[in-house]
């Protein structure tokens, strides 16, 4: 019986054993090709080298975050000083680089990837160190005879290392304090800046000026977490928090300070008109770094900010008298007055740099050299990050700036602990705090337990 009609082409019969063999061969080829591609896709993008001769001519690429004209000039001047000391090294500086850009570029690799990297935040140090993305600097410190414990204050050294791996060094520091409008204080009959949270609340209410339609002319102090530098971790520093226990587990729920912090912040908001009203007022504020800054425009009478704001207020010729003081502390920790939140810019060497010894020369100059650190600190009004520079007689003698120096050297000042998960736990805290300040957390204790669980789950997920 014919299996096909005449004129109709039939498929040749390949026999029962040949087809599977062809299929198997094709399948194997596809599988191998896919495996090869996958392996190529996840290979370490590029491997750096610390065997270069730093006395040979070389061009280094340096990525940093400064973008303001005066700050860019200050870093360019620093580089010029470095190049004068090391004529064989040319530095190509690239500014306004965010952490996201740097993170992605270092993973992608390529010839244009930076040799020297810096970041405006210490939040990602744990991630940089644990992933090996930033090279370990201890061998370089040892090789060039730098004793880091003698050069850098302990808090700053702590926030630039993770589990014993020193993958970054402080490149100036930032301290947070309270800016206050002296004219508004005089008008309200307040004689000195508040020192405790109760005083802050009392003064904030006195300084608040409402409009007839229920809006605001001026708020005494806006504690809302989305305002400029008011992120929860910065205000929380006044409570001296400990985020993790000895085993690295989140312990925010068990620390009564967390609850007190969130309750106090909400109390401050409620005392000045409530969350909805203050948030609406916040939408009238201009950009933080512009002439429309709310403190500069006298929309808030007290404001938490970093030491750099003083220089900006002077340059903007603020039309009122202002002063600075440490941020108030909780009532039950009144003796801790003087502390503040610390963070800073950090610098390191990209793991992919093929000129790591030359890169170290630049990092060492920027972070260790006392004259350079003092000159740069004075130029951009940041806190110097070495012990020698902090004690230098050449530091800016401006009394407002000196207030921040005292906050920076206060042993009770705190910085965020590094985590292998970068800033994800800070993000989780922010998330929770946003909900708490908006009154969307009915049971704070249960909420904090959930927050701890979330942070632990995120940290576990990021570990190998």
């Amino acid at each position: 019986m014919p299996l096909s009609r005449p004129g109709v082409r039939t498929r040749p019969r390949l026999g029962p054993r040949r087809r599977p063999r062809i299929r198997a061969r094709t399948g194997l080829t596809v599988a191998l090709a896919t495996a090869g591609l996958l392996a190529a896709g996840c290979a370490n993008p590029s491997v750096g080298s610390d065997r270069d001769d730093p006395t040979r001519p070389v061009t280094l690429t340096f990525w940093h975050g400064w973008s303001d004209a005066s700050e860019v000039k200050a870093i360019d001047d620093s580089i010029a000083r470095f190049e004068k000391l090391h004529p064989n090294i040319t530095v190509k500086a690239v500014g306004n680089v965010s952490d996201d850009t740097m993170n992605q570029a270092l993973r992608a690799g390529g010839s244009d990837a930076p040799d020297v990297v810096s970041s405006f935040t210490t939040n990602n140090v744990g991630q940089y160190c644990s992933s090996g993305m930033w090279a370990d600097l201890d061998p370089f410190l040892k090789k060039t005879g730098v004793d880091k414990t003698k050069v850098f204050p302990k808090t700053l050294l702590d926030y630039t290392q993770y589990r014993g791996r020193q993958c970054a060094l402080p490149l100036l520091a930032d301290a947070y304090g309270l800016y206050y409008n002296k004219d508004a204080f005089a008008e309200a009959g307040i004689t000195r800046p508040p020192r405790t949270m109760s005083e802050l609340k009392r003064d904030a209410v006195k300084l608040t000026r409402r409009t007839q339609d229920g809006g605001y002319h001026r708020l005494g102090f806006m504690p809302n977490f989305r305002l400029y530098q008011n992120s929860p971790d910065r205000l929380f520093a006044q409570w001296g928090p400990r985020y993790f226990d000895r085993n690295g587990k989140a312990r925010l729920a068990e620390d009564p300070a967390t609850r007190d912090f969130l309750t106090t912040q909400r109390g401050l908001i409620d005392a000045q008109g409530g969350y909805r009203a203050t948030e609406k007022f916040r939408t009238t504020f201009g950009d933080e770094m512009s002439s429309q800054n709310a403190f500069l425009r006298q929309k808030v009478a007290m404001h938490m900010d970093g030491e750099w704001r003083g220089l900006m207020l002077k340059e903007a010729k603020a039309p009122f008298r202002w002063g600075v003081a440490p941020m108030p502390v909780p009532d039950d920790q009144a003796d801790a007055y003087g502390r503040g939140y610390l963070t800073g810019t950090i610098a390191g060497i990209a793991h992919s740099s093929r000129h790591q010894n030359a890169a170290w020369e630049l990092v060492r100059f920027l972070t260790v050299d006392t004259d350079q650190v003092v000159a740069f600190a004075n130029a951009i009004h940041n806190i110097p990050s070495t012990k020698a520079a902090l004690a230098s007689p050449h530091l800016d003698a401006d009394p407002d700036f000196r207030t921040f120096l005292r906050i920076a050297t206060d042993p009770r000042s705190t910085a965020l602990p590094p985590s292998n998960n970068g800033d994800m736990y800070v993000t989780s805290l922010q998330d929770f705090s946003y909900a708490a300040e908006a009154g969307r957390v009915p049971d704070l204790d249960a909420g904090l337990r959930g927050l701890d669980a979330r942070i632990d789950a995120d940290n576990l997920q990021s570990e190998n």
């Binding site: 306004n96 993170n103 991630q127 305002l227 992120s231 948030e279 908006a438 969307r440 789950a457 990021s462």
Partner: protein, 318 residues
């Protein structure tokens, strides 16, 4: 034996040549599909079972990424809800609005060119610029829209600053840029044979009957196209929600700052934003891949459902 065996190899060679020719013609698509879809899909599946921070070598972690995404990541729920909300509401309103504008413009006797241009132009605005403009216009305190509403005595919402209004504000933004759908619907509407309308009129059909029995059957393939592409696009909704959230939050953006998408109260957080945060900010590649696959499966399921059932848009025999 030899005489009977010879035709088979020749036939095989012929068939091989034919297959190679077909493959040659198909090769551009095959290469594109393999490189830009097949490989990424396989890699996404592979990495969803790996711990991989894009620096160190990946290590197998079994179902940990999946467990994390589906049970331990609190933002997954709100992000999925927002994405599905936008898919349902935004796509439906865009199709209805696009069709409505298309119908109106095809009926306009004079100045049709002006209206066509006026409705199409916003679509040409870059998404970021358009979103910035919308956030500015809808600023609850200083925006002109609320000033006008206030002057008219109408209670003004807080738009992008209110969790209840943030997604509807994004829908408004998408309706403003309806030009793409309007053009497609206009083309479809102008393509409906005039004779059919004349015949319907002779039968005494009114405006609704003409739309229901003449226009609708003719344009349903285009409506299906608009719905399917709308669903796929909205599943990938990212830029406008991110820009609107960032701007409305007033949080400073700069090197060192932590920007969280989803302001206010995660109401504008979408799954693609979460994928980006996980994959390219936290470098949690495994979880990002697992989440991408969830999104892929949902998008495929919705699209397959629409194509199979054709959402009741096409006649059964079509």
């Amino acid at each position: 034996m030899a005489a009977t065996a010879s035709p088979a190899p020749e036939l095989r060679r012929k068939q091989l040549r034919e297959r190679l020719r077909i493959l040659g013609f198909l090769s551009p698509w095959l290469v594109g599909f393999s490189v830009f879809f097949g490989y990424p899909l396989i890699a996404t599946g592979y990495f969803s079972f790996m711990h991989y921070n894009q620096i160190e070598q990946p290590t197998f972690v079994g179902l940990r990424n999946w467990t994390y995404v589906l049970t331990q990541m609190p933002l997954f729920g709100p992000a999925l809800w927002n994405t599905l909300w936008l898919v349902v509401v935004m796509v439906a309103l865009r199709v209805v609005f696009g069709l409505g504008i298309g119908l109106l413009i095809t009926k306009v006797k004079s100045g049709a060119g002006f209206f066509r241009t006026a409705f199409y132009l916003p679509y040409l605005a870059p998404p970021v610029a358009a979103t910035v403009a919308f956030v500015f216009l809808l600023n609850p305190s200083t925006g002109p829209v609320n000033e006008i509403l206030g002057a008219l005595g109408i209670p003004a919402p807080e738009w992008f600053n209110d969790p209840t209004w943030a997604k509807p504000s994004l829908v408004l933004l998408s309706l403003w840029g309806i030009g793409d759908l309007m053009v497609i619907f206009m083309a479809a509407l102008l393509d409906v044979p005039k004779e059919q309308y004349e015949a319907a009129e002779l039968d005494g059909a009114g405006a609704w009957s003409k739309f229901r029995y003449v226009t609708w059957p003719a344009i349903t393939p285009i409506v299906l196209f608009a719905v399917v592409t709308g669903v796929v696009q909205t599943m990938q909704y990212y830029t406008q929600a991110l820009v609107a959230g960032k701007l409305a939050s007033g949080v400073s953006i700069g090197p060192g700052s932590v920007i969280q998408p989803g302001y206010p109260d995660h109401s504008t957080l979408t799954v693609p934003q979460l994928v980006y945060s996980l994959g390219f900010q936290n470098f949690n590649t495994g979880a990002a891949c697992a989440l991408s696959l969830v999104l892929f499966v949902i998008a495929m399921a919705v699209t397959t459902l629409l194509m199979r059932k054709r959402a009741g848009l096409l006649p059964a025999d079509d």
